[in-house]
Symmetry: C2
Subunit: 456 residues, 2 copies
Amino acid sequence: MQDILELAGVSRAAAVVDRLRGAQPADIVQQLNELDAAEAAEIVARLPLEKAADVFDHPDLAEPQTILAALRPAVAAEILDAMAADRLADLFRDMEEPPRERLLALLTREARAIIDALLVHPEGTAGSMMTTEFVSVPATWSVAETLRHIREVEGARETVYAIYVLDPITRRLQAAVSLRRLISGDPDALVGSVARFDQPVTVLPQADREEVARLISKYDLLAIPVVDEKNHVLGIVTVDDIIDTMIEVTTEDVHKFGGMEALDEPYTRIGFAEMLRKRAGWLAILFLSEMLTASAMQHFEDELEKAVVLTLFIPLIMSSGGNSGSQATSLIIRALALGELKLSDWWRVALREIPTGLALGGFLGVIGVARIAVWQEAGIFDYGPHWMLVALTVGLALVAIVTFGSLAGSMLPFALKRLGFDPASASAPFVATLVDVSGLVIYFSVALVVLSGTLL
Amino acid sequence: MQDILELAGVSRAAAVVDRLRGAQPADIVQQLNELDAAEAAEIVARLPLEKAADVFDHPDLAEPQTILAALRPAVAAEILDAMAADRLADLFRDMEEPPRERLLALLTREARAIIDALLVHPEGTAGSMMTTEFVSVPATWSVAETLRHIREVEGARETVYAIYVLDPITRRLQAAVSLRRLISGDPDALVGSVARFDQPVTVLPQADREEVARLISKYDLLAIPVVDEKNHVLGIVTVDDIIDTMIEVTTEDVHKFGGMEALDEPYTRIGFAEMLRKRAGWLAILFLSEMLTASAMQHFEDELEKAVVLTLFIPLIMSSGGNSGSQATSLIIRALALGELKLSDWWRVALREIPTGLALGGFLGVIGVARIAVWQEAGIFDYGPHWMLVALTVGLALVAIVTFGSLAGSMLPFALKRLGFDPASASAPFVATLVDVSGLVIYFSVALVVLSGTLL
């Protein structure tokens, strides 16, 4: 009975594999992610080796380590050997013991050396994203020789569309040529002659991944060479890795802008405790800072007792400051990320945000005054005999607080960047908290001036 | 004298052009953007035609229309003819009269027909991003024939790395093959034999640009074919266009999440009036909604008069709800954008956010109660004889409001998506406003229960 069941399992797996033979790796990954590791391993073991390696090269595969650990060591070793060097390094970077040592032992000596070299680079740098599987040829080769070489190594290279031409003696990078230029070029010409540009665009291994993305996007590259100070090519970062990086960075930035630590995993997969941890930290910091509002209000307790009418507008006025601040912060975070603004541009931005804040604050102030006047005159609510002065206080406070919000919101990303933090940490809640505390002080100060002698 | 000056100008321009001959288009664009249109036109006119077309193909060129209008018509016509079809369509899509008609007249009849076909597709769709300059061959061709064809057309195609194999009679798409596979394949084999996958990944012209980006990223494509319902290839979208799109979409999403309309232009280049317009709209909507807080407080006026001590914690409690809501919104916006969550998953998220909110609210509640107790016992501030009940009110209200914030913040993107809006419109200020109004009602309701018979 057991045998028959097993047999049924085997033939089912075989049927699945048959369907997957011509499928895209991304689609196979999606199906494997829905199985447990043992089932997934059964499928993977039956895939052609090249396909299996493609599956493990795909960044969306949920538990590559567990599946590898569930495979027969010989099969796992073959797959590891066929994987792209950069993905292999990523795999071991994230891996925990026990499987780590056992899987490392399956690697060839060369693969181990390559991985060790890649793992030196800190996560998030060009060095940590690069792969060593690129095509390079000496400048003395002809176009035809280069094409012959590409045909031979095609299967073992991450991309063959960018070819790096090296000085035959120093092995320094001289030029980058594209396959399209090569195949339409004169076969007898030197390989460097089909280069379109004087200087290949390169990046140092310690460059941030966002800088790599910026360069690939700016120069429309399919791959960028990572070089050392002497212009030796250490590896390349390809455009598909950059797209994955951009998606990851965007997610992190949105999470941070929402006022939390960025999740490393999809919302659907992260554990409850981890989720709490990522959210509780910033929530507590913001809460402790916001406690200053209670202190500020305690300071104005006498005024509050005398003019309870003022409390009615506290949330309205404070939130307006936070909203204008959040707008300004979102603008500046992106402008800094895109390189449209530099740190030294802060005063230019300040000079722009002050009139913007005054105009927006004036606009809201007029609405606010009108609201109070209409409610009063229509008899909806009685703001007391001095309602005109109360309206004036609200209007003036709105101008001041919206201006302050725009200014504070736009300066916060600069300040964070200056202090060495990520400007994207200037979250909307962070700005709102900053503006709330100062907003209260501004509101009561305006009230003291306008209402002194009447309500206060 | 005039002549000599002109001569100096000419020789200076010639020297500049000499330097630019081997430069990357992106770097030339950067330099041109710092000149006025007449100066830029002078440089462009001296560049080799291919280079000039590359410059106009670059999306960062600030004022392509003005520069084209400043060129001699013959030169402008040559450049327009050499440009990529998708960029040409973008150019005319954005162009205003007068130059539009004049430049359109410079196009060849074929170019006009192609542009007219591309301009049919609404902005932001796959159809509007595609170019018609792709390589396609009938399935009856051999690998060698295909390579010969690629060599001939290389200069006039946006990419030659993806080749589309069509049914020789119906011209429907059968397979996509890569140049790398072709050059290492058997020259006499049929072109389709080197295809790696059963089904080419395709997209319909009406697909959203974010869907195009998702597919290119998921399947690691260099280009994706845009096909009609009958699987005829209409054009392709290339990976470099997608990267530009992703950057644009991210900027728009951050702006929206910051609570404003997305800017179409860099912060540094947008006009003052346009900037006000983009910010004032949402600011006013949020302000009008937030006015409900004033109404809510008016409703609880009696309670406020009796227990001024309650007002001290209003900003603290309300902002905590807004912050937890902003966190939840940022999580869900990204999870929806990445396809990790579908509309039908809303209840799964709700079931997750409620315990998360309770835990986070409990955590903040404990801090809040401790704060009041410490201030009271240390004699920093006197919250009155019923300070313990006040502390209990604050603690319970925090639990309720943070839970409500997490729930509302996570459901808002779903609700917007359900109603056909962009879930990214669920901005942090939007959520904060939503939670502020309800937060006040929750706070006073809790107070009425806890403090009834003592303070209230």
